[in-house]
């Protein structure tokens, strides 16, 4: 065994400092909030290394989006504009990103995308193409040193001063793992929507806007998008409600929502919400959906009736003030993050809750309707 202290190889070539690149996301001209969040997180990483923050945005007729990206923290915005990029499609978008990265004299140090249905579709293809590391669904990002000691590959032993720390929950959220990919730039990560904090928009911020070429090939058109349907919310003020009463599959049918509406009516500034499953079943319109592909809400009180608490639902509501969950299954995942759990049939529990709240309002008090022991 050689003494590694003496003969330590030079590992500085592995992940030298470089740009931080955010791959932005818009759907039909609607700039996605996760992109602004990534610019906030990316700005911190770039400043830590003393490097510029860049952003690549793809689409067609993007209007003021590039300028807005600058106002939210980008130093330079690269714009790929083509009718073929109007809606997201894996292969054309992949082609533009790969060509763009290939055209650079040095790869960015870090490349970030959102953990959205688009980001999680695109990022793995880019990482596989460049054979570089990608960490999914991060909740924290940082830059820091890493000392590699494993002797499996002696050429890699050494101190890496500027690694991307990609931190994410693992094993069903009970552990946090710090994942590194220091062997190669770009080091890639996707981050969960709603987690990173965007900077305040600064209309005076200056930056450069650079168009980039789009050269698609025949094989990029093997898949076509026939229709993109976005059910933009109108009328339901979920994001502004103080109290949300939400229902899931455990309600047993659309009638369950009548009861939830009656419960919601007992509260000031309240709204009714739902899980995706019951929206898909047509029990209630999409505008009421909370979660990864619905709305992110943060009410003071969230009552979840017959909702299992799947991760895609949780990410949309876990920051609520008080979470009361009603579920007949005591092992339901929702009880892992709710504050109060009631084990029982949700329709019975909700009816009882309405009864008691009405009693409170009429001044009778809960005692009047609940027999003493």
């Amino acid at each position: 065994m050689t003494d590694n202290q003496e003969t330590q190889p030079d590992v500085s070539q592995f992940c030298p400092k470089g740009d931080v690149l955010v791959i932005g996301e818009q759907i039909l001209g609607d700039l996605q909030p996760v992109t602004l969040e990534l610019l906030g997180a990316g700005r911190i990483l770039a400043d830590k290394m003393g490097q510029p923050l860049k952003c690549l945005i793809m689409g067609h007729n993007l209007g003021d989006i590039p300028q807005r990206l600058i106002e939210y923290g980008a130093d330079e915005v690269f714009v790929a504009d083509s009718p073929e990029l109007h809606v997201y499609r894996t292969l054309p978008y992949r082609r533009v990103v790969c060509d763009f990265l290939d055209s650079l004299s040095a790869p960015p140090h870090t490349c970030l995308l959102g953990s959205t249905t688009t980001g999680r579709d695109l990022a793995p293809r880019i990482a596989a193409h460049f054979e570089t590391g990608l960490t999914a669904d991060c909740t924290e990002l940082d830059i820091g040193p890493y000392e590699h000691k494993s002797k499996v590959d002696p050429t890699k032993i050494g101190l890496y001063p500027n690694c991307l720390y990609a931190i994410r929950p693992s094993f069903g959220e009970s552990l946090k793992a710090r994942i590194l990919g220091p062997w190669k730039n770009p080091q890639m990560a996707t981050t969960r929507p709603g987690v990173m904090v965007p900077n305040k928009q600064d209309p005076n911020r200056q930056g450069k806007i650079t168009p980039i070429p789009v050269n698609l090939k025949q094989e990029d058109f093997r898949l076509i998008v026939a229709d993109t349907v976005r059910e933009i919310s109108k009328g339901v003020k979920l994001t502004e409600a103080d109290v949300i009463v939400a229902g899931g599959f455990g309600l047993g049918g659309p009638e369950g929502f009548d009861l939830l509406r009656e419960l919601a009516a007992q509260f000031e500034n309240s709204a009714v919400a739902a899980s995706r499953k019951v929206v898909d079943l047509g029990w209630i319109p999409y505008q009421h959906q909370v979660g990864q592909t619905g709305k992110t809400v943060r009410p003071k009180l969230y009552i979840a009736a017959g909702i299992s608490g799947a991760i895609q639902h949780r990410v949309g509501m876990s920051k609520s003030g008080i979470i009361i969950a009603i579920n007949k299954d005591p092992d339901s995942p929702i009880f892992k993050f709710a504050h109060h759990g009631i084990v029982g049939d949700c329709n019975q529990v909700i009816s009882e809750m309405i009864k008691q709240l009405k009693a409170v309002k009429s001044g009778k008090g809960v005692e009047a309707v609940v027999g003493s022991h």
Binding site: G172, L175, K176, L180, W183, A226, K336, H340, G344, V366
Partner: protein, 277 residues
């Protein structure tokens, strides 16, 4: 397409986190002791593959990479009606990240044949990345439909519906194609009596079983070991840390009559503070 579709479904065996067995105090998993199961997301992929076969004709092969006990989930797939199965098992695969896994699976797929359709689960409950499917598609040079909730096939074209933020997309793709199936797809049907019986009979005869479950290693599928395992993985887990459950401890109310359960919660959370006056 008279000869029918060649359909692959990729499945992984994962630790059963519902069971307390093999969960270390620090939150990590002792894979030798943990209970094992078919990745729950792969049940939707399996159902999609079986639907494709039932509605459009063809053959389904299940493919998995993992240690020898993963044979259990391949038996389960056979019970549900897949035609044959392949297990890539090799010590040199230990510590593979998604890129290394996708590479090894790519080589295995090429060894098995030329698929028209490859189905993957949306994600695994242990890796939890949703990356292996698209990375495999990249290696194979295929188009992909991720987050696919439903699909139908007309001629050589697959019509699919995929989830996006705030809605959905309808897409049409040529085959060959890779699809990752969302958990809003139809749940896996119960195994048929015939399927279960067939597998029971097979399992009694090792020689006979080998005709249906093929175990392969890196040399056989021609995968460069340098590109798999720890060496072929661009990412490493540098540190793990136990975190408390989000939102802290849930105060459980159960076992009493409903009026009392509700009364306790109404009082403890002071629900009256949120009420209309």
């Amino acid at each position: 397409m008279s000869s029918g579709l060649n359909i692959f479904v990729l499945v992984k065996q994962v630790p059963d986190q519902g069971s307390k067995a093999g969960i270390n105090p620090d939150g990590t998993i002792d894979r030798a002791k943990a209970k094992r199961m078919l990745n729950p997301f792969d049940r939707f992929a399996l159902q999609a593959a079986l639907h494709a076969k039932k509605n459009y004709g063809g053959k389904v092969s299940a493919i998995s990479m993992g240690p020898p006990p993963a044979v259990e989930i391949l038996l389960e797939c056979l019970e549900h009606g897949v035609d044959d199965a392949y297990l890539l098992s090799d010590r040199r695969l230990a510590a593979s990240d998604t890129l290394a896994t996708a590479f090894a699976l790519f080589k295995t797929v090429a060894h098995v044949g030329k698929p028209d359709l490859v189905f993957c689960g949306l994600q695994t409950t242990d890796g939890d990345t949703a990356q292996v499917g698209p990375q495999l598609a990249e290696r194979m040079g295929l188009p992909q439909i991720t987050y696919c909730e439903d699909f139908s096939i007309e001629g050589n074209k697959v019509h699919g519906r995929r989830i996006i933020e705030g809605g959905y997309q309808k897409v049409v793709s040529e085959m060959p194609l890779l699809i990752t199936v969302a958990n809003s797809y139809h749940p896996l049907e119960y195994k048929s009596f015939r399927g279960a019986w067939r597998v029971q009979r097979l399992a009694r005869n090792e020689e006979e079983l080998k005709k249906y479950i093929h175990t392969v290693d890196l040399d056989l599928v021609g995968a460069d070991p340098e590109r798999t395992g720890l060496k072929g993985s661009p990412t490493i887990v540098a540190a793990t840390e136990k975190v408390g459950e989000i939102g802290g401890n849930c105060r459980m109310h159960e076992g009493q009559s409903i009026d009392h359960l509700v009364k306790d919660v109404v009082k403890e959370t002071n629900l009256a503070q949120f009420m209309t006056v």
